[in-house]
């Protein structure tokens, strides 16, 4: 059995958290220890999301936890929400992705762009885990450039008709409802992008799991096909308008990812420290060798910096002052440093580091996806470049 996880807090950052924030973090941490860690290795090898965790996650209130109580959500602040993501991804990026998609990519747009009826219909059911959602933005040929999407929504006399395809959709085959982004105007008109709530049993909608993933294996990733999908008039998210609407959702999700990646890094560091103290080679624990100490010192430094980064980001978000560019910086930095730490931990563990019994290689493989999704590392680099210089490198 793995030694108990203690978290990483070299700078007494706990003193910057409120009692509620710590209580939320500790509750999710205990839940992850007891419910997630014991099953995640097998789920990963078998290549499916551990669905049996959904009721427990819902009962704790992990879905859309920063949305208001009137919709059955926990009404937490954004730091507490971030801490949830941190603890979930300490378990596995795939499980954190599940919660991110449900909360930040489906519940959030319904909350932000939906009608009162849509909010009342969907949010309580999604908070309680009875309805699972997915988010369809990326297409086979439009990843980093979502403005070019070719999925269309044509207005008919009694509603909408959607046609197109979406790819890399987390929870696609599990979901009862999909938020699908489509152009309502000309192909060149990104301002005509609108969000639609598509019940997945609608005729013409199909989802097929993508096979052969070597990363995020404990998460279901699907391809969506929409072929003459007829929707009622009220399927549109009335307050969505242009590409900025889905990008707002992505800002929410990326905020959570900045915290989540930190959790994966903390898990790896914890494993590295424990292993380096117990593994004896050349007559002493390998933690006594300078090369391993340098690795550990580097990891602790990067984790501490990343913790300060997301905590301040969360406080800014709670004050309504957070900018998407600040989120880009945090996502870019924290996922990159987490990937490095996972890789270094894998190496510190020697041959054992390649086994599913340990966490490092699973986290490493997962983080390669996290590095790429929700705005690739490179795209966030260019977002920052544009912010600094005022010149867009995209056009």
């Amino acid at each position: 059995m793995a030694p108990k996880y203690h978290g990483v807090d070299f700078y007494s950052l706990d003193t910057l958290l409120s009692e509620e924030e710590r209580a939320v973090r500790d509750t999710v941490r205990t839940w992850v220890d007891k419910q997630l860690i014991p099953v995640i290795g097998d789920a990963y090898i078998e290549g499916h999301f551990p669905k049996q965790l959904i009721p427990g996650m819902a009962e704790l209130g992990l879905f859309g936890a920063n949305l208001p109580e009137e919709y059955g959500c926990a009404g937490l602040n954004n730091v507490a929400y971030g801490l949830i993501m941190q603890e979930l991804e300490r378990g596995d990026s795939g499980v954190r992705s599940f919660a991110s998609v449900q909360g930040a990519l489906v519940m959030y747009p319904i909350y932000a762009f939906g009608s009162d009826e849509q909010k009342r219909k969907w949010l309580p059911e999604m908070a309680s885990g009875k309805v699972i959602g997915c988010f369809g933005l990326t297409e086979p040929d439009y990843g980093s450039n979502p403005a070019g999407m070719i999925t269309t929504a044509k207005e008919s006399k009694d509603g909408w008709v959607l046609n197109g395809a979406k790819m890399w959709i987390t929870n696609g085959s599990t979901a009862q409802v999909a938020v699908v982004w489509a152009k309502t105007g000309a192909q060149s008109d990104a301002n005509s992008i609108r969000g639609f709530l598509v019940p997945t049993h609608t005729r013409g909608f199909s989802a097929k799991d993508q096979k052969g993933k070597l990363s995020l294996r404990a998460s279901d990733t699907s391809e969506l096909v929409l072929q003459d999908v007829h929707l009622a008039k009220d399927a549109i998210l009335p307050k969505s308008g242009g590409l900025k609407s889905p990008l707002m959702c992505l800002t929410q999700a990326r905020y959570g990812i900045s915290w989540g990646a930190l959790g994966a890094a903390m898990a790896c560091y914890d494993e590295a420290v424990s292993y380096s103290k117990n593994r004896v080679m050349f007559g002493k624990p390998i933690g006594g060798f300078q090369l391993q100490q340098a690795r550990l010192a580097e990891m602790l430094t990067e984790i501490t910096k990343a913790q300060l980064l997301v905590l301040q980001l969360g406080r800014l978000k709670d004050q309504g002052k957070m900018t998407p560019q600040q989120v880009s910086l945090a996502k870019r930095n924290n996922v990159d440093m987490a990937t490095d730490i996972a890789r270094e931990t894998r190496r510190l563990l020697g041959a054992n580091g390649i086994l599913a019994e340990y966490q490092a290689m699973r986290h490493l493989a997962n983080l390669e996806s996290v590095y790429t999704y929700e705005g690739t590392h490179d795209v966030h680099t260019l977002v920052l470049g544009q912010e600094i210089t005022g010149i867009s490198a995209f056009e």
């Binding site: 203690h6 209580a23 939320v24 205990t30 209130g61 936890a65 926990a74 009404g75």
Partner: protein, 251 residues
């Protein structure tokens, strides 16, 4: 059902504790404190009984420093209705002093259908306060209960004793101290954590008598002797068995 649950804030058994400079207390710095795990069973038992009855009140009572409010709020987050902190500078070494203060408060706030404690606190291992409170309140007391049913004013309790289960009965109201196995304590849901902030938590400063027990000294346990590696893999088994038989004499 009006149920009192008496709880204690204790250092997490996973934390590495250090003896403080005075040589007779623990250094709090960097120590994580939790709701005593046996008291979690007591809280859960109270909540389940209230839920089953469909009505009632679960009141959580703790004695300790102001920081114990956080521990009470953990129980409120699990679902208890209100909390009372008997605030002191420190938890006295003499369990009887604690028991007197708790009994006085319970008398004033009663009558109770049931008074629950954890079977012991994981910091002092005394198992004293529950039975002492029962005595002071003139109530029957059953300790270390791993299963409890209450019907028609009679409590039937299982106690896990050496090699057997003892089943005992007593009238209620009674003081019951809970053991592992009685239930599976719930996680405080996030909504519960938010709601706990708004639940009443009464802080009552109390002055305690001196008691007759004094802690003279605290010492960390002696360091374990270094182990011996007899070899690796299957080839080491005969040597290991030999040593276990001849040296350790455990086989």
């Amino acid at each position: 059902m009006k149920i009192a649950v008496c709880i204690k804030r204790v250092a997490d058994s996973e934390t590495r504790v250090k003896v403080a400079g005075d040589g007779k207390s623990l250094d709090d710095a960097g120590v994580k404190f939790i709701l005593n795990p046996y008291d979690e069973f007591a809280v859960e038992e109270a909540l389940q009984r209230k839920e089953k009855a469909g009505t009632g009140e679960v009141v959580v009572l703790a004695l300790g420093s102001a920081t114990a409010q956080e521990t009470i709020r953990t129980a409120l987050a699990m679902g208890a209705d209100r909390g009372i902190l008997l605030q002191t500078d420190a938890v006295p070494a003499d369990g009887f002093v604690t028991a007197q203060a708790i009994a006085t408060e319970l008398k004033a706030g009663g009558p109770w259908d049931l008074v629950l404690f954890g079977k012991m606190a994981i910091d002092d291992y005394n198992s004293q306060v529950g039975p002492m409170v029962a005595e002071l309140l003139d109530l029957p007391c059953v300790t270390s209960v791993s299963h409890l049913t209450i019907e028609n004013g009679v409590a039937t309790a299982d106690r896990e004793i050496e090699g057997a289960v003892e089943v005992v009965q007593c009238p209620v109201p009674a003081v019951i101290t809970t053991d592992k196995g009685i239930n599976e304590p719930r996680y405080p849901a996030l909504k519960g954590i938010m709601a706990a902030k708004k639940k009443p938590l009464e802080v009552k400063p109390v002055t305690l008598g001196g008691g007759s027990i004094e802690v003279l000294e605290m010492q960390p346990p002696p360091a374990r002797k270094e182990g011996k590696i007899v070899g690796e893999g299957a080839a080491a088994v005969p040597e290991l068995v030999k040593l276990l038989r001849e040296e350790a004499k455990v086989l």
